[in-house]
Amino acid sequence: MFLKQLYRHSKTACFILIAFLLAFIYIFFKWGIVAAPVLQYGMFSAPVHLADTQQVYMISVNNKPVDCAALSFSDRDILQVSLADYEKQGAVNESVYNTMHKFLGFTGLMDKNKYVNHISDAGFTQWYKAKLEKITGASVDSLSVYKQYFLWRQNSLQPVGTPIKLAFIVP
């Protein structure tokens, strides 16, 4: 048996391996917090349904829509995911701070200010415009972004509700 052989070779190495495997199994069962490099590898495991609402950011540069489908997967992620992440970052970071305070609060080093992004909406817009210019190769004179919800109906994604203009994209 491998563990037995490893124990004979090095007790320390055997202990580290067992601790690592136990941590992996614990995090697997605990279903929530992880501790890199012990992660949860449950990609695409959450049940999803065709009736779920999809969210797409409709980006317009110089009054022309940006064709995200024509971009590489990574460029598309930069344009779409960074908007979603920025929109949620305040709430997400605060929630993480509150949860992690239970585990790391004893260090006395947890400071709420460290969990706050010191950037204005105008600063984010400027950064986003620079990314757009780099990815599309065109200068961005005007930019507007709308959040639109879609539903899968009749073999295509159909818009539902009215598009919501992103207030944090500053003209």
Binding site: Q5, A13, P47, A69, D75, L104, Y115, N117, F124, S156
Partner: protein, 279 residues
């Protein structure tokens, strides 16, 4: 045949090639830290990330562009130095291996908190440097085997997750995943060949469900590696097909995990005699 230093050097070269290709890919797509020039971070429920954040490193990196360049440079240089030391047999490889693993962990935490990249994609760069820590052939054998078990566990646990959450029993799971994954593409270019292909899979739920079942099965079969090493070459082929299809169908890049395949490739080589270890 016994596992020896030649195999370790070959593994180091393979690791370096994998890493160089991956780094080049990141560089080409503008995904390195200084290329992204992040302006905000989003934290995760990850204890390691939050221990790092105790030092306010996220905010420091965001407001210090030269630090971003330094991190990118170290991310390239450390594995390079490690592999050179491993091939040349320098004594400092133990220290360098630990340093590389720890640094890559920090780099992964930073990059995944400031971009759309996931931490899972970096796991090979965090873990594999440890294999090269030891000059001793027996120690190399044991770290290689341990890393092999870890890789098997990653894949096997992915399949178990799909069973545990019930996703595997949801017949429209893959169709719904495809809609979610390619929503922007389906909206912007609904008539492109790729959108039409994806739409075909979405509307033919049975076909897409079979793909999901096969993907789960291909993850599940890695369990066999816990009992025998006889099928490791077959697992390599299954893994490569899985990664290629994952990129084509989902647009997800797990190419970094290819570096783990060295563990499966060399797994059947026998343990060096203990006298070699002590020598």
């Amino acid at each position: 045949m016994f596992l020896n230093n030649t195999h370790r050097k070959r593994f180091a070269i393979f690791y370096l090639i994998c890493f160089a290709v991956y780094y080049g890919w990141y560089c080409y797509h503008g995904l390195l830290l200084h290329q992204l020039a992040p302006v905000f971070f989003h934290n995760k429920l990850d204890i390691t990330s939050n221990i790092i954040q105790l030092s306010d490193l996220f905010n420091i990196v965001i407001r210090t562009p030269w630090l971003q360049i330094l991190f990118d440079a170290l991310f390239l240089l450390l594995p390079l130095l490690l592999c050179v030391c491993c091939i040349a047999g320098y004594r400092m490889q133990y220290l360098l291996a630990i340093l590389t693993a720890v640094f890559n962990l920090i780099y992964a935490v930073l990059l995944s908190s400031m971009s759309a990249l996931s931490m899972e994609g970096f796991v090979s760069w965090m873990m594999l440097p440890i294999i090269f820590a030891f000059r001793n052939e027996t120690s190399f054998y044991y770290t290689l085997q341990s890393m092999r078990y870890f890789f098997l566990l990653i894949f096997f646990s992915s399949a178990v997750w799909k069973i545990r959450t019930g996703a595997i029993f949801n017949t429209e799971q893959m169709s719904a995943i495809l809609v979610n994954q390619h929503a922007a593409c389906l909206v912007d270019q609904p008539d492109s060949w790729f959108s039409n292909f994806i739409k075909y899979l979405i509307s033919h739920k049975q076909i897409s469900y079979v793909i999901y079942l096969l993907a789960t099965l291909s993850e599940f079969v890695f369990v066999i590696g816990f009992f025998t090493k006889r099928f490791d070459r077959l697992l390599i082929i299954i893994f490569l097909v899985f990664v290629a299809l994952d990129y084509f169908l989902m647009g997800i890049n797990y190419f970094s995990w290819i570096a783990f395949l060295g563990c499966l490739w060399f797994s059947r080589l026998e343990r060096p005699a203990e006298k070699t270890a002590k020598g």
